[in-house]
Each structure stands twice: as structure tokens, then as C-alpha cells.
Symmetry: C2
Subunit: 226 residues, 2 copies
């Protein structure tokens, strides 16, 4: 029987590649997505449409509303910046404790499924400056997770896999292409048009476009005509 | 200006005492509660009614549905045990990763509020055998939390306070009484009657009643007539 793994899955480039890597490593992927008060619903539509075609055995969507808390351009009326990625600064699109919250739901589901592996597509290079994407955060999370659950008490070991952590965006894209991913079916934009076309200007679009350029491949995603 | 602290608050005996202790220590308490698919809504009604009278500056209720995940008597159709607290065994009322999830939302809210202190009323003695109530879990969570957020990046230190961790239930009750808590306004039962009366038989009721007995005080809460 295949070992189950829970994959944090947003329908974007990184998490889709992460899911494909989990499959390549022999895991049966259980995709988990979060509707947390993002400004646009397009991301979730993409995730719902693509989770099973991308190979997920099951897809769990967890709903909660981070807008009640505020504190981020992604969950409030703050403007999403379109002028380029700031160096050495945590951007306003940072959502307080987002990956901590996401991983905690993944941890709960893993325990219910009897899975001992969680995949998260964080990246320490092209990572937009979010504190909860750093390798030392993931290590500390794994230690905590092994004390938080029955798994730890019963002596099994839960592992947080971060297969993208030391890859450039270009390397992620090349890896994904080698695994047969159609990146036209992935969505990365923080602030898409109503028809779902990517803006091409937010941090996430800029990192993605730079990655495709460096990989020497054209991005098949649909962008707003400039 | 008073320092803000986020308090995990269910309206029960432990978290209400915890909130009072945070006030005693000079913090301005921000109470956070979770509607996570519990079988009964009574707990949340109690929490909503009492948070501000108990001294909370604000009360945030976060909604999500752990029933989609299953795995616990508190969020599924599994029966709540009424025959006594099992020793050395994790009971079916354990909710996978619940405290990890709760603390993660508290962490996000703390960051938005500019708070560096989180209070959780876990208890290592009369603790029902949940892995996520152990001191080593809390220590690991605090380490992780300091890497997860801007707070950590900017050099401030976030502290997870567990003022009840080494107290017996009787000591918690005596502490709360000395701080003026009216325990008639707190709710602990896992499986209350429709009118909100506590069952007196579930683990939570048994631990509470034993605590009042040991404190030499009668429990002012309303129980189902046996």
C-alpha cells in the first residue's frame, strides 16, 4: 500500500510542483487547500478543478476567515503592491502566521489519515521575505508537530518535506516540466482580473515570470493584456 | 499603556481562570474562541456572553469545521465516554492537532495586535491525556512561534504563558476564587443537555467535580438531575 502524504495545495506553481514531487517519491497525495478570506476566489476554483487531475487521492478545503484579524494586503483592503519586490523587507502581502495555521490543519488531517508526511512548497530563495518560509521555521515546526500529536506519543516520526526549499524558481519550473506539469493550469497571481487573468505586476507574478525567463521557457499562463 | 495578551478562551473553568490570571499579571486580555464543529453550541454561547464581563478588551471568534476531518468524539458521531477517565490512554475526545491549530490563530492575532504574550490554560496534571497539553509541546511551540512571525525576525520575543500547567484542578479553582471568578458562569461539559446543564459524567465534568471536591467547595454549575 502506498504511504499517504498531506500536501499543502493552493493550485499555484509551487504547490502543484510539490504535489507532483510527492507522487514521484511514491506517496499517495492528499491535497489540502484553504479559503481564508483571500480577496479573490479564483485561486480556490483553480485548486478545486485541478487537485484530482494532478493526482490527489482526496482534496480537503478548509474555510476560515482571516479578514476578521486583518494585517495583510491579501486579506484586507490594503493595496497589493505592483512596483516590484522589496529586498530585506517583509511585504504587506505577508499574512500573519499563515503557514503556521496551514501546517496545523495539515497536521490534524495527517493524524486522522494515518499519514506521517506533509509536503509544503516553501522556498528559501525566491520567497518574498516571509518569515514562515525559512528552513529554520520548518525545522522548528517539525519538532513541535512531533510533540503535538498521538504520532509523536506512539513513537512514529512525522516529517515535513520541503522539496522546493533550496531551488530557484527556474529550477522548480524545470523540475515540474520534467514531471509533466502543464503550468497553464496553475495560478500564482495575488490580484487577478475578473476573468482570472494574472496581473503580471504583483510580487508573485514577477517571481513567476522571472523564473520562466531564467528557465528559458515561456509562461503558458494567461496574463492581462498590457 | 497596558501590554496586550491573547488568551485562548473557551468559556470553561480553565481558560476563564487563565484570563483572570493574565489580568492579575497586568495584561490587557484579548480573548480568542473557536467554533470548530463542536457538537454543541452551548460552549460558544457561554464564551460570547462572558468574555467581556470577565475582562476581555476584545473577543474574536474564529470559525472552521473540523468535522470534515473527523477523528474525534467531539467533532463526529463517536460517543462521548461516560464511564470514567482512562489512565495512560489518549481518549476519543482528543481532537487531532486542536491546540496547535488554536495557538496558530492566536499567534496570527497576536502579531496583528502587536502582542507578545499568549495565554493557554493547559494543565499537565488533570489533563485527560492529550499530547498537546504537555509542557514539552508548549516549549516547542514557543520556539517555532518565534521563527514563524515578524516578531521573531524583528528581535522581539513571543512568550506562551501556561499559568495552570502545574496546578491541580483544586488549586486552579482556589486561584480563580481568590481572583473573584463566579464559576457558575463557566462551562466545562463535553455533552451538555439541551438547556445547557452539564452531564456530570464525561471526563471533563468528572475532572471538574473532583477538583471542586478536593478544593472543599461545591460546584455552582448547573448539572442534569441524576
Amino acid at each position: 500500500m502506498q504511504k499517504k502524504a498531506v500536501i499543502l495545495y493552493s493550485g499555484g506553481l509551487d504547490s502543484t510542483t510539490c504535489l507532483a514531487i510527492a507522487r514521484e517519491q511514491g506517496f499517495e497525495p492528499y491535497a489540502i487547500s484553504f479559503r481564508y478570506g483571500q480577496r479573490h476566489s479564483h485561486e480556490m476554483e483553480v485548486a478545486k478543478r485541478n487537485a484530482r487531475p494532478m493526482g490527489a487521492a482526496d482534496h480537503l478545503v478548509v474555510d476560515f476567515d482571516l479578514r476578521k484579524m486583518g494585517g495583510s494586503a491579501l486579506t484586507s483592503d490594503l493595496a497589493v503592491p505592483k512596483t516590484g519586490v522589496e529586498e530585506n523587507e517583509i511585504p504587506v502581502t505577508y499574512v500573519p502566521a499563515r503557514n503556521t495555521i496551514f501546517l496545523s490543519f495539515a497536521l490534524g488531517w495527517a493524524e486522522v489519515l494515518g499519514a506521517f508526511d506533509i509536503f509544503i512548497g516553501v522556498n528559501a530563495l525566491d520567497y518574498s521575505g516571509y518569515p514562515d518560509c525559512r528552513p529554520e521555521f520548518i525545522e522548528a515546526y517539525e519538532k513541535m508537530a512531533n510533540l503535538a500529536t498521538k504520532t509523536g506519543v506512539e513513537g512514529s516520526k512525522l516529517t515535513i518535506h520541503t522539496p522546493l526549499i533550496s531551488l530557484t524558481k527556474a529550477e522548480i519550473i524545470k523540475k515540474g516540466l520534467s514531471l509533466g506539469i502543464d503550468y497553464a493550469q496553475t495560478h500564482s497571481c495575488y490580484d487577478p482580473a475578473e476573468d482570472g487573468a494574472a496581473c503580471g505586476l504583483c510580487d508573485s507574478c514577477r517571481l513567476r515570470l522571472k523564473g520562466f525567463a531564467e528557465a528559458g521557457v515561456s509562461d503558458p499562463a494567461r496574463y492581462v493584456k498590457g
